[in-house]
Amino acid sequence: MTTQTETHEAPAGELGKARLRKEDDRLITGQTSWTDNITLPGLVHMALLRSPYAHARITRVDLSAARAQPGVIAAFAGADLADEQGSMPCVWPVTDDIVMPAYPPMAVDEVRYVGDAVACVVARDRYAAADALATIDVDYEPLPPVLDMRAALDENSPKVHEAGNKCYEWTLANGDIDAAFRDAPVVIERDYVQQRLIPSPMEPRSVVCAPIGDEYTIWSATQVPHIVRILLSLVTGIGEHKLRVIAPDVGGGFGSKLEFIAEEVITVLVARRVGRPVKWTESRSESNMASHHGRDQLQRIRIAADRDGRIRGLSVDLLANMGAYLKIVGPGIPLLGAFMYNAIYKMDAYSFRCTGVFTTTTPTDAYRGAGRPEATYAIERIMDELATELGMDPLEVRERNWIKHEEFPYTTIAGLTYDSGNYEAATAKAKELFRYDELRREQSERISRGDPVRLGIGVSTFTEMCGLAPSKLLGQLKYVAGGWEYASIRVLPTGKVEVVTGTSAHGQGHETAWSQITADALGVPFEDVRVLHGDTLVAPKGMDTYGSRSVVVGGTAVHSACLKVIEKARAIAAKLLEAPPEELEFTGGAFQASGGGQSKTIQEIAFAAFDAHDLPDGMEPSLDSDSTIDPANFSFPHGTHLCAAEVDTETGMVTIRSYVAVDDVGKVVNPLIVEGQVHGGIAQGIAQALYEEGVYDDAGNLLTTTLADYLVPSAADLPSYVTSRTETPSTTNPLGVKGVGEAGTIASTPAVVNAIIDALRPLGIRDITMPCTPERVWRAIESARSLGDPSARQNGGTA
């Protein structure tokens, strides 16, 4: 099948229109309802004391001085909550024999990372709570920290948990991998380090719990209010029907708020104990220590190829750092990557193995891209190595192997069926915008004139899997929940429309995009639609927002519910117009008989449904409809990102000179929002390549506890981006959409590092461990120089 790729043009309907966002009004005027803004009568503030040790036994906690402080209502240690706090759940036990240690929300006997909660104070205001915290006396008996993953797997290593430091081993294989590597003319093996990242949404986490009788309302800065409600019920034993969870305006998540957090449990239990509303809001340094981290994988990747560049096989062996405990989907993150190492390429065989490892560090979980950035980095880096080995242009070796647009749908070696794509089109457009050939010429000129500032060109032809996810497949992967999404359309008597969605936006603009989908389907004005979300009382069902799933699954549910509304309305219109329903056409928000004549607008029908005077026999007086959609497949956005980086070989300074991103995210609901997602995604990927790293010292102290140490880049640190699109619709959902939330992050990290290495390869450098800081780049250059002229050596290159 040939998939259709169109260049986008101005749309006739609502879909594809660059609508300005409905959300902005409250956000640019300061009328927001961040969780920390919530105030309630009698509200008290909770502060948490956290472990200063990476690993220690708790021998005594003395709260007496804290309890005696002025303004202090209560203080609790882990032992005080032990009988009711349960254990934090992990919903993705990836293997039958996975080690799943108990994870008390507040440590009772032992702390396992710096930042583990040990005790809490509840006081009249946050200053009094902080004062009281300082008076708590805890005796610790230090235990040896476990920090290095390889050392942790040694049988003589100290243990994080009694059951040992190996959490699980998960494998995936297809094809004869031994045959692929046996006698292969080219075999390349590389080790890459996915450094630990701290997601760093601008809004720190915050939880408020208001107990009223035996019912609880919880506000939380979360991406997943519905999941929090279910898990809170399971952990605390409070009936799900007695819990209402609200995610008000949420200031970014990037996966870090795809979590059910210990602090949610503690806040609810403490509110129940003190019988008053309790608020906990973390500081940034607390957030860096105790909100989950991302990445932290050691990757060994081997590729076997023929001399003409054709890939024969790929083998991947990972160590994935779980940290001290298993977070909600932590063990599954590398699995999301397992299906993506083969990327857009055809090959004969593939094998993947991941070993999850416990260490005494902050637990890890999803961070923007979640497994796919790691996979894409490794494959796109080694594709450049392959190109170098074969003396080919990096785009040429990719094209030789990628799935051609006429080959879709294509079942990959990892077992996924990519429904559509056009890598040729995206790459051609990117090359043109980038002026690829011109930059290649400049690169050679700089080398020949001995310019100390080298130019490098980085390529990343990525794909990813979005639209999490077909429930059946999630079940096969041992994920505990489904991947469906819910929407409900309520047509009000005056013709205005309320859309209830189970997705939970935290910056993505669902209020705008879902309004467009609804306005387009129902033919009502965009302004007449209101989107409701993020409150389990208002939107009772949902699987929330993560993994670039919302438009693909949630948007489809909105669309599907709209279609049901139209069918209900059709029956009423037929009665009113005295015409057979099947002869009515619905266009522009009105029904008309195909032969012409009278018409009825959806608003008129809405009122007719409300007054219910003249409905068809047996019809309920309502147009309201809902839909729960379980996707048939993932969606597979792709694109070609090209980065030109100047590397000053005297200082190690890297400057991104130009960055071109051509993304194919299928049909676009709102190009403004799509472009914004791509921009932000690229920025986070560049941040991994150049700036960010969560660092521990030898004792297990996190050194990057502030934004002065953990370098989230500013406007001055980032380049301008050129973005464009090709549009190859997804064939597995009616909107043709693919998702865009993570694409930029997945694509940009390898594009940037490939550019740096491309600039420095003539010096004999083939890897620099991220982040590629000036110091690391400079050291790599110095080290390569000290090895002498690379051309004089057989195997040029420093690892």
Partner: protein
């Protein structure tokens, strides 16, 4: 407790505060101006930026007592019957996603444009270096500030 008189968004307040109270906590919890959020505790992120006597300050790094006698403008005081040109430009250029950094970004940009009414893109980037955004990659923030500058925001 110290007595302070602070004008916030045109309204005068007299309060008794602890000498250690941060201006941002005073604004949020005493005056009830929650439009100014808190993003960090080391004055790196700039989310809490407000104007103090016309100059931008990070209100997490100013004590409430230091604001005694000062005029404070927060994001809530920027619109004057209609949106401030920066608010309009941020909306029109899609310069916000989650919106958490936006109040501080707009206040810092207001100060930047007062100092330099016609900044280049690089001057905008350098001028906003103290304000972090995790969503937008800054591209549209730069465009928005330029747009506001072209609309003559400083006049």
């Amino acid at each position: 407790m110290a007595e302070i008189t602070v004008t916030v968004d045109g309204v005068s307040y007299v309060d008794h505060v602890e000498p250690r109270m941060l201006l941002v906590h005073y604004l949020r919890e005493v005056v009830g101006k929650t439009g100014t959020p808190i993003g960090c505790d080391t004055s790196n992120c700039g989310a809490c930026t407000v104007l103090m006597d016309g100059a931008s300050v990070k209100s997490c790094s100013v004590l409430a007592v230091q604001a005694d006698g000062a005029q404070i403008t927060t994001i809530e005081g920027m619109a004057n019957g209609e949106w401030h040109p920066l608010q309009r430009a941020f909306h029109e250029e899609h310069a916000l996603q989650c919106g958490y950094c936006t109040p501080g970004m707009i206040m810092a940009a207001a100060d930047l444009l007062k100092e330099n009414p016609h900044p280049s893109n690089q001057e905008i980037r350098d001028g906003l270096e103290g304000n972090l955004c995790r969503c937008t990659g800054y591209e549209n923030i730069v465009r928005a500030v330029r747009r506001a500058a072209e609309a003559g925001v400083s006049e």
